[in-house]
Every structure is written in C-alpha cells, then in structure tokens.
C-alpha cells in the first residue's frame, strides 16, 4: 500500500455538512422534481429548493467559527471565512429562487431543473469558499460554472439567451483551462497542491530564488487569469455585458453575485493565504503579486465605471457596474498583499461582498419587475415614471442605486468605507484615490435611474411585479439599509474572520 486508508473520524465530515448537505439536497431535489412534483405545480420545487437552502444555512451557523475545522485530510476547511462566505452564498441562492419563481412562469420556461441547477451552482460556490487545495478549487470552480452555463441559456429558443450561454460556456471553459495550467505550474514549483503546504514552500523558494520562483509567479498569474474571468475584472471582462444581457434576468442576478462571491473566495484564499510576501522594497514587505492586482483593480474601476455611463439597457448597465464593483473588491484583495493587513483586507472584501449581494440582487429584482414577458422592457427609459405608479419599488430602486454609488446610510457605503480604509492602511494611496474618483463618476449613471423614476413624466409598467418579487426586493432593501444604519451587526460577524494562513504562521 502506498498510502494509509483514512479512518472516518480523521475525515472530520461534520464541518463539511453545510456544503455537503446542499449538494445532497440537489440530488434529492432533482429526483423529487422528476418523480413527485406534477408538471404544472413547479412552485413546489421552488419551495423545496428554499428548504434545502434553509437546512444548509442552519448547519452553517453550527459550524461557524469552529476550531477543529479541517476535513478530508486538510483539503477542505470550514473556518470563519468560509462561514461568512456561505452566508452570502446561501442568501444569494434564497433571493435568487424568490426572484425566479414567477419569472419562469411568465417567460414560459418553467422547468424543475432550473432550481436544481441553481442550487448545484450554489453548492459549488460553497465548496469554493471551503477549498484548501488547488484540486478542490478546480472541482468547485467547475461545479460553480457548468450549471451557470446551462442557466444562462435557459431561455431557449430566445436567440440572445442562447448566445449568452454559448459565449459563457466557450470562454468559461477557456478560463478553466488557464486555471488548471496555473495550478500545474504552482504544483511544479512547490511540489504540492495543498494551500498551507504551498505557503510553507513559498518561503524557502523565495530565498533560493531561481527558476522555481519564476514558475510560481507564472502559475499565480495564470490562476489569476482563470479566477479573474469568473469575477469579471478588466482584461478578462469581455463576456460580461453580453452574457448578463442575454441570460434570463434572475439568472443574471444570481450569477452577478454568486460567481463573484465564489471567485473572490478562491482568489483571497489562494493569493492572500498561500502566496505571501517575498519581495522587500523600501523596507516594506508586500507580496510580489500586489503590483499586478493594483493595476488590474485600477483598470477595472476606470473601465467599468466609464463604460457603464454609455449604456441604455439596465441589464448592460448593471453588468458594467458589476465589473466596477469587482474592481472595488479587488482593491481589498490588493491590500491583503501587505503583510499584517491580510485579515483586515479580507474582512473588508467580505463586508463589501455582503453589501453588494443585497444591493445588486435588489436592483435586478426591480429590473425584473419592469421587464415584460417577452424579455423586452429592460431599457433605462422603461423606468420613467416608476415613482408615480409603484412608489414602493421606486423607493427601493433609489436605495439600491444610492447604495451602489456608496452614499451613507446604505450597505454600499459601509462596504466602500472598509475597502478604502484597508487600501489606505496598506499604503496604496493612489489606488484609493482612483477608487474614490470612480465612485463619483459612477454616481452619474446610478442617479440617472433615479432621475428617470422620479423627475420625468411617464407611465412605467411593472408587469413582472408579483408578490414573490416584491418580497425579494424588500428583503434586499432591508438588508441594504440595516447594513448601512447598523454596520456593527455585520462587522461583529466579520471581526471573527481570520484567514487561515495566519493560524499556520
């Protein structure tokens, strides 16, 4: 025997329960939908999916901040970072299901597989947040992406939806290949795929220098390409507007938040945790990849915010805005490259993700209410006069737009506050200035929606406004406002988050 057969106790399966229970729930949901749920009552499937999410959520609360948190011989870790990420992901899935239920019926694409795919993708995101090994990251990445490819094309035979699915699939498969290549190079340099072991190997590599260090940097760069595609940062963002515009709106909402959460979870873990500082400059230690992230973050912020101004379609506008917001989170990732700031920057990224989750899902919820059954009605002009016809929805949309801009008393402000603070503490002053300036620019196109709703006369229709969508929008609105007014509720939770590498150290 080459290896020891692990005992069941050493696998420590208890801490994997949140993610595994959701994955198991997916299997049950698929069969239940197939065998038990009648064809015209697909809302039962939706409620079953919500139940699966709820079970996973409760289990996640139990494993939150567990001390004995490594499972599968260290390949899977369920620390407080995972716990926080899981909360974001499960809330995304929950709101995504609420947004989808009536939309599917209106669009005539009510098939039970929809919810199965959505939960499958959410399970992939949860594994991504727990992955402590490059191989697990890759499997989670595929589990996250493949259902999303299908979901993006779910509105067949709508041409735009098909185009969206196809584009996402081909480019996504390409980016996965980049990731695997990067992982292979990192393995070649360090001789291991386990993230803590890579962390230990990097120190000795940096001292010896030579070709292995170069191999490691090249690998890290390729990993960045693969994950950067998933989170849509600038050189790898080309697919975003087309895919977001063509995909069914609730799917766009789900993937604009979920795929980003998963991607950034892996990015933070791989970069901040296992590829630490090995460059000394001006007496300050920072990771060699920090410069790269600095540049990418700046490009993302500038391009995302500037191009969003030119958009007339709300889904395309929100797509570019989501690129811009990836840039803000990337600021925090760049800041986490400064030694001693890893935890603070990680917390900032997590808070930003939570705020972005509520805000973006809510904004897509309102866009979905305005959208017509055939998928038209997503123009910015379709919002004209919304405040008169649907004051509640318009008020919520205003809150979301202000939160995306980063106005105080909203979650977006709190997120930006922590991200900018972390960036400044890390000494990246120029990046922080770019962030603030682009925020100001972003106000232009966000406020334009508010102007359309409140100041221009018109008759906005909301054919998609149903009970369920209203709930989702109000929950998201409540989340945005509560985070903005009582930030200590969230920071109390995120203060528990420490990145596992600091434990290894």
């Amino acid at each position: 025997m080459l290896f020891e057969v692990p005992s069941l106790e050493s696998l420590n399966l208890g801490v994997t329960l949140p993610a595994v229970s959701l994955a198991f729930g997916v299997c049950v949901l698929l069969l239940a939908d197939l065998l038990l749920v009648p064809k015209d009552r697909k809302e039962i499937t939706a409620w079953l999916a919500v139940a699966g999410v709820a079970v996973s959520f409760v289990l996640n609360l139990f494993t939150f901040n567990n001390t004995d948190n490594e499972a599968f011989l260290g390949m899977f870790v369920a620390d407080s970072f995972t716990g926080f990420m899981n909360i974001v992901i499960l809330l995304t899935a929950f709101l995504g299901i609420l947004l989808s239920k009536d939309y599917l019926k209106r669009a005539g694409i009510e098939r039970g597989e929809y919810y199965t795919l959505m939960l499958m993708s959410a399970a992939g995101m949860m594994f991504m947040a727990s992955a402590n090994d490059l191989v697990v990251v890759f499997i989670a990445l595929e589990l996250l992406s493949i259902p999303l490819y299908v979901l993006a094309a779910f509105r067949v035979p709508d041409v735009k939806s098909e185009e969206s699915g196809m584009k996402y699939f081909i480019l996504g498969a390409f980016s996965s290949a980049f990731f695997v290549y990067g992982a292979a190079l990192v393995y070649g340099a360090t001789g291991t795929t386990s993230l803590p072991a890579i962390f230990n190997a990097v120190g000795t590599l940096a001292e010896s220098g030579g070709s292995s260090a170069f191999l490691l940097l090249a690998g890290a760069g390729l990993i960045l390409v693969g994950l950067g595609f998933k989170v849509a940062v600038v050189p790898f963002h080309m697919w975003t507007p087309d895919v977001y515009e063509g995909a069914p709106t609730p799917v766009t909402a789900f993937m604009s938040v979920g795929a980003k959460a998963g991607g950034f979870a892996a990015l933070l873990r791989i970069m901040a945790m296992s590829l630490p500082a090995f460059t000394l400059a001006d007496g300050q230690t920072f990771a060699a990849w920090q410069q790269t992230f600095w540049i990418i973050a700046a490009l993302t912020l500038i391009l995302g915010n500037l191009v969003a101004i030119a958009q007339s379609n709300i889904k395309r506008m929100l797509a570019y805005s989501s690129i811009a917001h990836a840039g803000y989170i990337l600021m925090a990732v760049a800041a986490s490259g400064t030694i001693g700031l890893t935890d603070e920057a990680t917390r900032a990224a997590l808070i930003y993700l939570l705020a972005y989750m509520f805000t973006n899902l809510g904004a897509f919820g309102v866009a979905l209410a305005v959208e017509r059954d055939d998928g038209s009605g997503t123009n910015l002009n379709d919002f004209v006069g919304l405040a008169k016809n649907r004051p509640g929805l318009a008020l919520m949309m205003a809150v979301f737009m202000l939160s995306l801009t980063g106005i105080p008393l909203t979650g977006g402000f709190i997120g930006k506050w922590f991200v900018f603070k972390a960036t400044l503490d890390a000494g990246l002053v120029a990046l922080a200035i770019i962030g603030v300036l682009t925020s100001v620019v972003s106000a232009f196109y966000y406020v334009r929606v508010i102007v359309n709703m409140y100041l221009r006369d018109g008759e906005a229709e909301t054919p998609g406004e149903t009970q369920m969508v209203n709930w989702a929008v109000y929950i998201a609105g409540a989340g945005t406002l509560i985070m903005g007014i009582f930030p200590f509720l969230v920071t109390g939770l995120s203060d528990l988050v420490t990145v596992a590498a600091s434990v290894v150290r």
Partner: protein, 119 residues
C-alpha cells in the same frame, strides 16, 4: 517518488506500442488485402468524416455519445477500485457508494426524461 518508480509505466508504454504496431503489421503481412472504397473509409458504417461542417445530423448521436462517456468514466473509476477493494475496506465501500449514488441519480434522471429511447 523517484524516477525509477515509474519504470512499470514505461514498460507498459513500450509494450502497448509494440503490441499495437505488431497487430497492424501482422495483419497486413499475412491477411488477404483487397481494399475497396467502402472498406477503406475511416468509419465503415459511420458518417463521412470529410465534407462541409455545417449540415444537419441527428442530435440523438450526441446524446448517446454523452451517455457513453458517463458510463465509460464509471468503469474507469470502478476498475482500480475493484483491484484494491480489499485494502480500501469499508472506507472504499462508502466512497464508492457516494459515487454510485450520484451516478444513479443521474441515471434515473436520464431514464425518466426518455434519453434512453431512440424514437
């Protein structure tokens, strides 16, 4: 792992190539050789491999191909497991059970969806 540990793999590689070459050349040397256009086509009873790429073909073939890959991979997983099943013990049994469960769920799904019916 040192390089000489890979020696069996190298031997396998060599033997596999040798047998392959042997089979091809022996049949060419000793067997009757009467080619005709039908017989020398790459796929004797399949589709023509050369021609315009954009044309209609039954999508059912792809379904069969995908299902084939699925069960092919199942076999690939099962064979090494079956060889080592005594050493792996209960742990191996549980792991394979999980794999089989996921596979069965997929199988039930495709069955109920009618993917196994040709018409």
């Amino acid at each position: 792992m040192a390089l000489q540990d890979f020696a069996p793999i190298g031997a396998l590689l060599f033997l596999a190539s040798a047998v392959m070459l042997l089979v091809v050349f022996i049949s060419r040397l000793f067997g009757p050789y009467r080619p005709n256009p039908r017989k020398s086509a790459p796929y004797e009873s399949g589709m023509k491999p050369i021609g315009p790429a954009i044309r209609r073909m039954p999508v059912k073939f792809y379904l069969v191909a995908v299902l084939f890959i699925l069960f092919d991979i199942e076999v690939i997983f099962f064979l090494p497991w079956a060889v080592a099943v005594r050493d792996l013990g209960v742990y191996g049994l549980i792991v394979m059970g999980v794999f089989l469960f996921i596979l069965t769920v997929g199988f039930i799904y495709e069955w109920k969806k009618g993917a196994l019916e040709w018409e």
